[in-house]
Amino acid sequence: MARVSNTTLLLQLIRRDLRVALRQRSEFLNPIIFLLVVITLFPLAVGPAADTLARIAPGVIWVSALLSAMLGLERMFRDDFRDGALEHMLLLPCPVELAVLGKVIVHWLLTALPLLLISPLLALLLSLPMQALPILIVTLLLGTPVLSAVGAIGVALTVSLNRGGALLSLLLLPLLIPLLIFATAALEAATYNLSAAGPLAMMAAFLVLALGLSPLAVKAALQVSVN
């Protein structure tokens, strides 16, 4: 009966999940590819006029972020549920919330971090004014963890169901829409050189709420699912 510290467990979980994901390259490539397709699609669809593009750029980037997060979510607990790793996780000698946090972190690292890294490229492709780029990055930094955290609730609720992604998205998108609204509001303000402080503050509030409450909700949901 050796004591294991919470930190060790958290790090071990993250390490294992990253290993699993990186071995299956499709898992983290698919969302990025999806993102690139979506972003290239819009200039094609609306024509190359820079001003129209700039107008829709914030919206397009955020919708794509949202949807590509969605694509990565499916995996968060499903495979674990199927091979028993989820039960193993629930029986680790640490708060379940902590393990959930680990899952959220991994999801964020795999779906949001690449997005952050290529966001300058996206901004360029969509002729987003350069002064809006820092704000874009800030909204992504504030918003994407919310996507992962709230997404975790949805996946935890649906893991045992084995249903299509449609149900998951149906549950999650309404919850995430406020985030989208504030993020695009901030970006729009930035495009017109206005202050984006208001919407950013709201996003920060969402972030705190999501990170604080989602592990609790996920824990409850997982316990229901495993039962």
Partner: protein, 250 residues
């Protein structure tokens, strides 16, 4: 401190309580609704700007408001169900959801009908309209999650968690009119009721609206109670008390 809830949490007790409450909601509800609708749709004066088309307000506003109200009610039931593991609360949750969804749908539908003459379009991506649509999605999500589970208790718990998480959207819907510049009306009614001395709406219009508001509440609450009682009986068919009631037809 929540001990007082438990006696009512027994299905039988809830059933009997509901039976007692039902007439207090059903009859006033039906009467108020009938009075309010006739008053509003027939007798209230036509609006000087909108003519008769404004009359749809007597359906639109109550349904829109109670759509949100019932969502909150559903979330409270969910909280009780998830935290205190009370089965009747689970059933209440699922009794409320479809009623709320229908209310939301009515508000959207009447809004769209109203919007056509008023704004010249059936639909516009205005903040309030959109957020009301999201409310519909939330209801549908809760219901879809519930039926997706084979085991109904599990389904109710899962749906309950979702319902609770979704509450954050309610203030957003309500304040959407302030946060964004929109086509849609601000909260005139709420203001009016709190500041009766400076009405922004003629009393002949306000009164039938208020009557309708409570009429909707009564009828919908009665519907919920009836759905809940049906559910209780369905789940407890094998229990002696339920058998007695079913046989005795009381």
């Amino acid at each position: 401190m929540w001990r007082w809830l438990h006696p009512y949490a027994k299905p039988e007790a809830t059933y009997r309580l509901n039976k007692k409450l039902l007439p207090w909601f059903a009859w006033p509800g039906v009467v108020l609704l009938a009075v309010g609708l006739v008053w509003g749709l027939v007798f209230a004066p036509a609006d000087y700007q909108q003519g008769d088309s404004y009359r749809i307000i007597f359906i639109h506003v109550p349904s829109a408001m109670w759509a949100m109200g019932f969502y909150v009610g559903m979330a409270v039931a969910a909280l009780i169900a998830v935290v205190w593991q009370i089965r009747t609360a689970e059933w209440a949750l699922m009794a409320i959801a479809p009623v709320g969804a229908v209310l939301t749908f009515i508000s959207l539908f009447t809004g769209a009908i109203w919007g056509h003459p008023m704004w010249g379009t059936w639909w516009i991506w205005d903040a309030r309209l959109t957020s009301q649509l999201i409310l519909l999605f939330l209801y549908l999500g809760v219901m879809a999650l519930y039926v997706a589970f084979e085991d109904q208790r599990t389904g109710a718990k899962a749906a309950g968690i979702l319902a609770m998480v979704g509450v954050i959207n309610i203030p957003i819907i309500h304040y959407s009119v302030y946060w964004w510049n929109t086509l849609h009306q601000g909260s005139t009614i709420t203001q009016m009721v709190t500041r009766l001395e400076a009405p922004t709406m003629p009393a002949e219009m306000l009164w039938p609206l208020l009557v309708n508001l409570f009429g909707f509440l009564g009828v919908c609450a009665a519907l919920v109670i009836m759905r809940l009682n049906n559910e209780i009986l369905r789940r407890e068919v094998r229990r002696p008390w339920a058998i007695a009631i079913l046989k005795g037809g009381q």
